[in-house]
Amino acid sequence: MDGMTRTPFDVDAIRADFPILASEHRGRKLVFLDSGASAQKPRQVIQAMVRCMESAYANVHRGAYHLSEQATADYEAARAAVARFINAPSEADIIITANSTMAMNLVAHSFGRGVLKPGQAVVASEMEHHANLVPWQMLRDGHGTELRICRITDAGELDLDHLAELLADGRVGLVAVTHMSNVLGTVTPAAQIARMAHEAGAKVLFDGSQAAVHRRVDVQAIDADFYAFTGHKLYGPTGIGVLYAKAALQRAMPPFMGGGDMIASVGLHHSVWAEPPAKFEAGTPPIIEAIGLHEAIRYVEAIGMPAIEAHERALVDHAMAVLPGIEGLRILGAAQDRGGVFAFALDNAHSHDLSTLLDRAGIAVRAGRHCAEPLHERLGAENGTCRASFGLYTTAGEIDFLAEALTSARRFFA
């Protein structure tokens, strides 16, 4: 693509950009419905990373030679692209991490231990990915903060009345919740949550691992203090994640890891930290991955996030028209605002048996509890669920094929 917006949304042309979608597995065409775990990569991203390694690669922020200066400029251009992508005020607000898990652990260590005081509380919710729950349990055990869990409704939406109760005593220092559930597809009202948190004197962190892929994120409009997402779900490479953190918070936070790149000067006994965001980026960063992520952002922006959102909304509507008609199929959650993620269970098949069958049909779905064990307990789905998650290359025909396979699977186990 040349940066021109492609209109109308041409899913066939998009699919042609993804080499793996043309591949066959055991003689069957791949129906990839596991983009929520990790998305496939377009040729543009693959080629940009190869180009970087073949002709523009050196370590960054170190060499005084031309190749290193060029690599540094390319790496920093990726940071700037990330900042524009989520409408951050400045590229200095963007910390590059390894993935969203590391981004949230960075907040737990630096903000949690360095800024929050023992006795203050962190609020997470019942529908968090383990990556936005376990760090707060660890912080509680190691630092003496309290962990409060916000309930969800039976429809799978955040219970905002309960959130208000949890915030009422003014002791909450951080609200850490998902912007879109990786199991239920629920999109949470981020701006409202941030307003509630701020009025109670708390900061707010959004786990945007799913949301950033499916719709336009504007961290200033929702007034996020922290926003985490990852490259590999956004059609980019593994090994790179992003933490947006407001500049004032970055200044108040101590470093996360120590090492090269995060220092201004080092003595044998004492060192001076670099300015943010370098302060939080110890060691050689994911350079090739940053080039890949930059290209992935270019790719989705050329299509347009609103167009991607509209395409996925149509897929969700189609799935909601087709799937509930399947006898014995339970779809978890019924949120008003939901993205292209569906967890479901058949009444007569365990999630692992079902995924083995679907795999045989060429359909890749995730089975189990999707790193959200407490949520499955909460919704009475202890045997796990299968999860179909859509990407910009997903078609309505693939959803029809899933429906057909589910109907056959139920007969198989009858």
Binding site: A349, H350, S351, H352, D353, T356, L357, R360, A361, A367, G368, R369, E373, H376, E382, N383, G384, E404, A405, S408, A409, F412, F413
Partner: protein
């Protein structure tokens, strides 16, 4: 659509998966262990009651899991009855080989009849991610025989 999966999900498996035998708590148990497969959430409790002759007089289990893990546990409780601890462990070792390779070259003639009963599960060897479903019950059996009080993990 799924006819070629009948090798994995033979009628015996589906039957034992739906209606596992010996699916109960054993009140007079002498040995107990809990098995857990954290990756997929399968859990089971296994109880053994030994007779005066030193052999397993009764075996029973409760738990939740996929058809493969439930059927494997069900067939196991039927197969180990009357076995000494040594025989039961031998059978478990032979079964793990069968589940991982589809073959059991080490199966001696004395195990042949029991392995025949377990053979419907041999199809799992073609599904690497499902082998652990079939072997969880047997890992749990080893722990029950030790009665070490530890959880078995079929990882």
């Amino acid at each position: 659509m799924f006819d070629d999966l009948r090798d994995l999900y033979q009628e015996v498996i589906l039957d034992h998966g739906r209606r596992p035998r010996n699916f109960r708590r054993l009140e007079n148990a002498t040995h107990h262990a809990r098995g857990d497969n954290p990756l997929c959430g399968d859990k089971m409790d296994l109880w053994l009651a030994f007779g005066d002759d030193g052999a397993i007089a009764d075996a029973a289990f409760q738990g939740r899991g996929c058809a493969i893990s439930m059927a494997s546990a069900s067939l196991m409780t039927e197969t180990v009855r009357g076995k000494s601890p040594t025989q039961a462990r031998q059978l478990g070792e032979a079964f793990r080989q069968l589940a991982m390779t589809g073959r059991c070259p080490a199966c001696e003639a004395v195990l042949a009849e029991d392995m025949e009963r377990l053979s419907p599960l041999s199809g799992v060897h073609e599904f690497p991610s499902r082998v652990k479903c079939a072997t969880l019950a047997w890992h749990t059996l080893n722990n029950a025989l030790d009665d070490s009080g530890q959880e078995a993990r079929s990882e």
